[in-house]
Symmetry: C2
Subunit: 521 residues, 2 copies
């Protein structure tokens, strides 16, 4: 009785999750439940829960923390009399570097978190609380990092950083030990496997590697500080670099290594699967924070003081608000650009069936550039018209948009290399939506590149060109499907002039579809 | 061929969603797919997508915007020589009121958004872009609101607000018209219904009511400003209030009204279903932002200047950082409290099977108090020890924690009133986890209340009591299950002394289980 009872709660939660997915899955959830609950689930234990929401909350926290260091960059006051070039160089050397490094390190911690919860698929109260403790330490990492950057010769920053990493390692080990002592919390693959102990030791070994090296680095820092930074950098990125190199070599030579059973998890291979769900949740968080960064500032700083309005503007609120005009423009511009980049990301991941570690890395790079967008947009409106500073700010914005977009395109290109595993047939090479997806992904990089070169040539009209770009792009996305069809029809008209059918635009869709289906099925 | 093709992409996405839910659903997704795709889905159309991620992104944006106005409150500098009472009263009258009103209005907009996307369950590119435009207008609402609060006698604030609402109304109407022109995007219930036109008109009528009234309010504001504020307040909250009153009356009299077919959506009834998924996503967003609010400030403001460290602290970074000690404490305290409140929320919603509008409202109140937590915690550490200010800051923190917790408890109590629809059997009255859930939900309110009264009596040790509370609560959550069992065993020992079995604690679980199962099944 008790056992059946327990499996009931699990079934209930699974059902609930499926119900979330809308009405379509109702039939599935009601008809096939008994089969979907594995014997190990049936054993059940009171208080186990799906980890879905815990991971969503963790992703939200981590995405905020990853982007937090852009705030000091954005709030650096630009002096009007100073040349932008110099101040940007000053920023580049410290604050932007801190931002990018923080972003990278937090995403490394995030990747470790994903890896851990790909092994542990169910949680209970104790694991949820341990995970919260882990999260708190992750949120503290950016601060230790900015201490390191501000006081590079002081021990404290590196000791705090190593301390955080070590405590996180201990907590993660406790989580692993706890989960392995309650196997019903684990991934099914490990649950049914016979050498659970082997898995446990392998995972613990991988998890403890970084904290142990951090301990050495912190001891080492007492003797020779500079080298311990190098040690840290190696510790954190070595597994990725070495495995990537190994993977590249094996690809180049063509020799496919047989991965042993133990290497299913924690392989650090570029094609190790990465939970697509979590990549999306993390990206959504970053896009949402970045899109609203400027409105946070506007809400806080750009409400004029009633006394000032009375004295300086003769009580005219509109006149007082006109001073802030550029900031509103920057907000709308950055919101629209970030929103559309999210839209492209959304369209791409809709057709991704499996995310890999390498795709996750490219996604991280894209997001890191997205984080810089509000700052760049703010700069474009801060300087007097036709000044050298304005031109440079506009060009920097174009460069940032270009890289944010090109890394999104790169995700797709990488996915295409292994398209049968990672992509839906429709966007594979030759698929029905292939050209349309290419157009979507290429739109922003192309436009940014075009604007960049146009502003180089017509530097006098740079602001006008930039604003025109901002306004045109959303409409371009709206009519993109049409544009692609017209473009394809024109191409066909030029290269296959033997069949100049005027209805080809309409038939286009059906024409391109047939051969690809043959390929796919 | 073309039609089959299209249904394939839909099937693929459904499958993908289920795969996300982990390995357990594999069997379900592979075995029962053909049944789960409805005839209308089979018709299919190129480019339709599940709305899941669009809604997640919208929720993330809205949760950030809802909490944005706490920043001006948090950044108000407290003067040490000034009495806290006065400065708090000053805050209460303006900034806190703006924060609470913003929170309420944004959540009203969010509820409208939920309602809309409970009718439209699939999206395409065009709808995604229209939704982004709608989001941008929502993110602008807090600013118009703070303009209204700062310049209550100026027209501009109210005109901007009404303008935003009107444009949002137009966009939402366009979305509805667009979706009804492509019925495969709609909720299945409407899709199969014969009077789609009736639905369309009903929904449009409800959507356009608020923008139309806003138009009147803005015209009215040109004549008599103060009354147009009242008009606005009525417009926004009237449907909720009137329907709630109607519902309460019908509950009191016991007369159950038959809701006509048209009233399935957009009823404003307190028991109208609210997407549980989205309530969770929105809450996660708010908890995540609030938990990290203080670290954002710390990362930006609390990195000391190297020159200052050299001059004032003789190069000792540790001495310089000790100045910020209270801020770190406040950060850890608020992170832990927010994290644990999230944990309680998570545990509760794990057992909620259907969320209603009234539960959503209570959740909003709880979240609004959670948003004030970092500010309160910051205050507790900002004043000298044993000052009157410190005592009041601690008591305010207790009050905020109390209300945040008590509204969570209220969600459960409301759910219990209709437990067969809204709750999992385990946490219903008499269910196995009923007492444990009660303990979880009651822990924070009780502790906050206890701390409040203790600090009233032992005002000299208020700081110590508060810190002790901060440290004890996480451990209390860890051993709560044990505590509840011991408590139950003790109660049984006292009230049923005829069976003083020493093993009762161990058997407790089985003993309590049996009678409830009889109830449940």
């Amino acid at each position: 009785m008790g056992e059946n009872d327990d499996s009931e709660i699990i079934e209930h939660h699974v059902e609930e999750e499926m119900e979330k997915k809308g009405t379509r899955s109702h039939a599935a959830s009601s008809s096939s439940f008994p089969e979907s609950v594995t014997p190990s689930d049936r054993e059940g234990h009171s208080g186990t829960q799906s980890s879905h929401r815990l991971l969503a909350y963790s992703d939200a926290l981590i995405s905020i923390i990853a982007t937090v260091m852009i705030l000091p960059v954005a709030h650096t006051k630009m002096e009007d009399n100073e040349e932008l070039r110099e101040s940007v160089q000053l920023l580049l050397t410290t604050k932007i570097a801190v931002y990018l490094m923080t972003f990278l390190i937090v995403t490394v911690a995030w990747a470790a978190h994903i890896r851990l919860f790909q092994v542990i698929v169910r949680i209970d109260d104790c694991l949820a609380l341990l995970n919260l403790a882990c999260m708190m330490l992750i949120t503290f990492l950016p601060y230790t990092f900015s201490l390191m950057a501000t006081f590079p010769t002081n021990l404290l920053g590196i000791l705090l950083f190593c301390g955080c990493v070590m405590v996180m390692g201990v907590i993660q080990s406790v989580i692993v030990l706890y989960a392995f002592s309650r196997p019903f919390l684990l991934n099914e693959q490990i649950q049914i496997s016979e050498n659970q102990t082997f898995y446990k030791h392998h995972i613990l070994k991988v998890i403890m590697r970084v904290p142990l090296m951090c301990m050495f680095a912190s001891i080492f820092s007492l003797i020779f500080l500079q080298l311990s930074y190098v040690l840290l950098a190696i510790v954190i990125f070595l597994p990725y670099i070495s495995q990537s190199l190994k993977w590249c070599r094996s690809k180049a030579i063509g020799q496919v290594e047989e991965t042993p059973d133990s290497m299913l998890f924690y392989t650090y291979l570029p094609n190790e699967p990465l939970s697509k769900d979590r990549v999306e949740a993390f990206s959504d968080g970053v896009y949402a924070i970045v899109a609203t960064l400027l409105i946070l500032d506007i809400c806080e700083d750009n409400v004029p003081d009633p006394i000032v309005v009375q004295k300086q503007f003769g009580g005219s609120l509109i006149a007082a608000l006109q001073v802030y005009g550029p900031e509103y423009l920057a907000y709308f511009g950055s919101f629209v650009t970030v929103g559309l980049l999210w839209f492209v990301h959304h369209s791409l991941f809709l057709h991704v069936t499996k995310a890999t570690r390498f795709m996750g890395l490219l996604n991280t790079f894209s997001l890191a550039f997205v984080g810089g967008l509000p700052l760049a947009y703010q700069l474009t409106h801060e300087f007097p018209h036709n000044s050298r500073n304005e031109l440079e700010a506009i060009q920097i914005s174009c460069v940032i948009i270009f890289f944010a977009g090109i890394f999104q395109l790169a995700i797709w290109v990488v996915a295409l290399y292994n398209e049968h595993e990672t992509l839906h047939p429709y966007v594979r090479y030759g698929g029905r939506e292939h050209v349309f997806m290419l157009a979507k992904l290429a739109l922003y990089p192309c436009v940014a590149l075009g604007t960049f070169f146009l502003t180089c040539i017509l530097s006098k009209f740079s602001a006008q060109i930039f604003h025109l770009m901002e306004i045109t792009v959303p409409f371009a996305f709206l009519v993109l499907r049409l544009l692609v069809r017209v473009g394809l029809a024109l191409l066909r008209l030029i290269f296959c002039p033997d069949r100049p059918d005027p209805r080809s635009i309409v038939e286009e869709e059906d024409e391109t579809r047939v051969p690809f289906n043959a390929l796919v099925t």
